[in-house]
């Protein structure tokens, strides 16, 4: 990706880096790694809309209100107290977890976290400044989201307080979800959480990446997650983005799947002023199966951009992708979904569907489903629809006694049901569905002009 910004507006971050690094006090190896990433960031600059991949998402407003660079200090006690309240309010709604780890502004917060006693199933091997040297880097670290490829991965690598490493042990089956909470505690901060997940052979787990912020906090979150699934590993990964509607979140999640592994990623974008999900999965070995579910619900002036890339790198791999969007008020939704089939990757089965509902005159959506196919023995399809609620269905419901707003609400809920129903674990499904319905009620206004 070539950078497109003229006169780097992120200059201040680069200048603030030495102070950040000094405060953090990393070992020389990590320090060098950060510096390389910072150099890559300087070279790439923030992407502009002249880049095809950023055609529909303008970071112009971000450039005008750039938060200062992180200080490198862990959050103070006062913030911790506030965060506790926040977590009690929000994170607990997602329910019981076999492990909960809370990161405040990217810093691990042990007092709010509960780690499992038995490490055979879930191991936390994070690399933080206080970790002993030399640091054992997890296998594959940085391969899927290298700093040199895009500016935000570079930014993340330079400024992340630590690399959170999570491993699901070989053959383990974890019944309760693992709940990782990433909270932006302040206002006007740059937060760079970094996560590395490995599902060992035949492991089976559910992971929630829960992004929260204090109400009204205006922050930039640049998160990077790399997921590696070994042979026959299965992972359900739920990404819940429910930060304040002043947050800018650039979320990069990249995964590589081994032989006969199964990965399901559910991305729910509810909050944020501007959210960009950069989601890429490489189906790297025979028999890998991938399910991508996505839901974006925008109201007010929210801008929600989902960029997915499914890379069928080997034969006999399967992917299914379904993204749905509901845009109300002046919200804008963007979907770009690429299915890539490499040469000789035969016997591929891949479907992709993107459906959008526009609820008000100011709402808009840009969608770009894409197929790039370099092998012939494939079955690939994509479909995309954009429209309003079905008038025939509205009439049907009204003829059974429902008011127009009840009918609209019911149809809108019906529209998202397919995504919510696919969520893992009943308790989680119930909890997340509730979050979605709350957000929907903010979109479907009673009387809803221009909807019926």
């Amino acid at each position: 990706m070539r950078g497109g910004s003229r006169g780097n507006p992120a200059e201040s971050w680069i200048q603030a880096f030495p102070a950040f690094a000094a405060a953090l006090g990393d070992n020389p190896q990590r320090q060098a790694q950060r510096e390389r990433a910072l150099a890559a960031f300087g070279e790439l600059g923030l992407p502009s809309t002249r880049l095809e991949a950023w055609r529909s998402t303008n970071l112009g407003t971000l450039e005008k209100r750039m938060p200062p660079a992180p200080t490198g200090h862990a959050p103070e006690a006062g913030l911790l107290e506030k965060a506790k309240t926040q977590i009690a309010l929000e994170a607990d709604r997602v329910g019981e977890a076999s492990l909960r780890a809370v990161f405040i502004d990217g810093h691990f917060c042990s007092s709010l976290s509960s780690l499992p006693e038995d490490e055979s199933a879930i191991r936390v091997l994070s690399i933080r400044p206080e970790s002993p040297t030399p640091v054992a880097f997890p296998q594959g670290y940085g391969e899927l989201a290298p700093a040199k490829r895009d500016a935000f991965s570079a930014l993340n690598e330079a400024f992340t307080p630590g690399i959170e490493v999570l491993e699901f042990g070989e053959g383990c089956e974890i019944d309760l979800p693992v709940h990782l909470v990433f909270l932006s505690s302040g206002d006007g901060r740059l937060n760079c959480p970094r996560l590395h997940v490995t599902g060992k052979k035949q492991s089976r787990a559910t992971l929630i990446l829960d992004f929260l912020s204090v109400p009204d906090g205006e922050n930039l979150v640049s998160s990077v997650t790399e997921i590696f699934l070994e042979e026959r590993a299965h992972l359900d990964c739920v990404v819940a983005e429910r930060e304040s509607d002043r947050t800018v979140h650039i979320a990069n999640l990249q995964a590589r799947q081994g032989r006969e592994s199964g990965l399901r990623i559910h991305t729910l974008t509810l909050g944020g002023a501007l959210v960009r999900n950069e989601l890429g999965v490489e189906l790297a070995d025979l028999g890998a199966e991938l399910d991508l579910n996505g839901l974006y619900v925008g109201s007010g002036d929210q801008h929600q951009d989902n960029h997915t890339r499914v890379d069928h790198a080997t034969p006999r791999t399967t992917s299914r992708e379904l993204y749905k969007g509901i845009l109300a008020d002046n919200a804008r939704g963007v979907f770009r979904g690429l299915i890539h089939v490499r040469p000789d990757a035969q016997k591929i089965d891949s479907t992709q569907s993107n459906m959008n509902l526009l609820l008000s005159p100011g709402a808009r959506v840009d969608t770009r489903p894409q197929l790039e196919i370099y092998a012939d023995d494939v079955k690939c399809s994509h479909g995309s629809t954009i429209g309003k609620l079905d008038e025939e269905a509205l009439f049907y419901l009204r003829s059974r006694g429902l008011s127009p707003s009840e009918a609209r609400a019911m149809l809108t809920r019906g529209f998202v049901a397919e995504i919510c129903d696919a969520l893992p674990l009943e308790s989680l499904r119930t909890a997340i569905t509730e979050l979605v319905l709350e957000k929907l009620s903010a979109c479907v206004h009673p009387g809803g002009e221009g909807v019926a």
């Binding site: 959008n356 196919i373 012939d376």
Partner: protein, 487 residues
């Protein structure tokens, strides 16, 4: 199957049917692009001052664009940068033609068209299905048939150069009004150096009684072809227009950068059909035409309709997006396309449907067939502007892969800014069905015939949009282009 494959391979290596070179003395400018060349072209055509000024403006913009950004980089095609100084921008058969009198046409030229299956002589005698033909040889229009008959109804159908002389007001009014000279690099080049092309005007309320047709032929070596077509259908008028193209086999790449502008006023309809069979280069990708064409129609009037149908089998590289600007309320845009690529061909083609007026409707049906080592992309934009209340679009893009070394890619862009719009897009990519082929073989068909009928079936939705006499030609072309691709 192997022996059949060998047969097919042999057939594939047969010559491109239209690859002959006609030995006609040509009046050709030396290679090079400059203000002087543009002035020379304009002078040869005895053009008015305003047209020269237009050309020069375009040339200046072209140089700027080339210096700033080079050639458009976004398409999924790959070729070495073109040296615009190596191309000759004007080539005309020396024996000049007095139009409407075929007797004076160079007999070699007439024979060329006979070989192409377009007998200009025949045209005079044909009864029943009538097609008025404007033949463009290299850069110059050589003959337009049936003119007198059309004139009775007030229809103007002539070469572009003649139109400049005889209908300057119409040309001045509409030239560049749909594709501005600065639209893109190739349109800009065309505006600077276009040599000829066709012009048609259908007056108010007239339904053109016959198909209008232009046949393009690049003959001379080292030349480019830069023709310009302008069709205007006045209120309530309707016309069907056909376009065909061929070129000799040469191991050089020749540039074809045409511009087509269509204007439909209230209740007018234009159907524009193309069978593009420029020389595609040999099986190793040597030679062939670079077909970099800008085609756009403006549905200016209420209830107007523009329909593009294209069958693209030729050219080394195709870069082409026939588009509709749906300005008038209730106007309709359609795009039906079959693109087949074989060997080393590359095609990046599709359409743009820009919905501006209320209750505008568009339909896109695109069928791509990739064989050999070719790469093909569908690229299309559907844009619903905020004011386009009640707009609807339906798009369907299917790709068929024959062979494991080719690629098929689909890049639709859907941008919707009005909540009352309904936009639907569907696409599939798959290989040709083994079961289907087996079924045909079991019923006694050869593999080649089996593939051919399956491909024709795959394209049926598009082929049936073609006028009769073109549909047959298109089916034959598909079969020829398929040869050697089974396996």
């Amino acid at each position: 199957m192997t022996s059949e494959n060998a047969d097919l391979k042999r057939m594939a290596e047969e010559d491109y049917k239209y690859g002959f070179v006609s030995d006609i003395e040509a009046d050709q400018l030396p290679p090079g692009l400059s203000e002087e060349v543009v002035r020379l072209i304009s002078a040869k055509k005895e053009e008015p001052e305003w047209l020269l000024a237009y050309r020069l403006k375009a040339l200046a913009r072209f140089s700027e664009m080339l210096a700033e950004n080079g050639e458009p980089g976004w398409a999924n095609i790959d070729y070495p940068a073109i040296n615009y100084q190596d191309i000759s921008y004007y080539s005309a058969p020396k024996a000049q033609v007095v139009l409407d009198s075929l007797d004076e046409v160079d007999p070699e030229l007439l024979r060329t068209y006979e070989k192409l299956g377009i007998s200009l002589e025949e045209q005079k005698r044909l009864t029943g299905v009538k097609v008025a033909v404007d033949a463009v040889f290299d850069s110059v229009s050589v003959a337009t048939t049936f003119r007198a008959e059309l004139e009775k109804q007030g229809i103007i159908f002539c070469s572009f150069s003649e139109a400049v002389k005889n209908h300057p007001d119409l040309i001045r009014k509409y030239l560049g009004s749909v594709v501005p000279y600065s639209d893109n690099l190739f349109a800009c080049l065309n505006a600077a150096v276009f040599s000829d092309g066709s012009f048609a005007y259908i007056p108010k309320g007239v339904r053109c009684p016959m198909e209008l047709s232009t046949y393009f032929r690049i003959n001379s070596s080292g030349t480019g072809q830069f023709e310009r077509t302008l069709l205007v259908a006045d209120e309530g008028a309707s016309v069907s227009y056909l376009e065909g193209c061929t070129a000799p086999m040469r191991d050089e790449n020749q540039l074809h950068a045409a511009v087509v502008e269509l204007v439909a006023l209230d209740d007018a309809s234009i159907k524009y059909s193309t069978v593009q069979n420029w020389y595609p280069g040999d099986k190793n990708g040597v030679g062939g035409i670079y077909n970099f064409v800008t085609k756009r129609g403006a549905c200016r009037g209420k209830r107007s309709k523009i329909s593009w149908t294209q069958v693209e089998t030729g050219s080394a590289i195709t870069w082409k997006y026939p588009s509709c600007i749906l300005q008038g309320d209730d106007s309709v845009g359609e795009f039906y396309s079959v693109a087949m690529t074989n060997n080393m061909q590359q095609a990046d083609t599709g359409t743009k449907m820009i919905h501006i007026g209320r209750n505008t409707k568009s339909t896109i049906i695109s069928k791509g067939i990739s064989c050999g080592r070719s790469q093909q992309s569908y690229r299309g934009l559907v844009k619903i502007n905020p004011k386009a209340e009640g707009a609807r679009n339906y798009s369907q893009c299917d790709s068929l892969l024959l062979g494991d070394e080719c690629g098929a890619h689909t890049f639709p862009y859907l941008e919707v800014e009005n909540p009352s719009a309904t936009v639907e897009h569907e696409a599939t990519t798959s290989k040709i069905g083994e079961e289907q082929i087996f079924y045909c073989l079991q019923r006694g068909l050869s593999e080649e015939d089996a593939v051919s009928i399956i491909v024709n079936g795959f394209c049926k939705e598009v082929l049936r949009e073609l006028p009769m006499e073109f549909a047959v030609e298109a089916q034959n072309l598909l079969s020829i282009s398929l040869e050697g691709s089974v396996g």
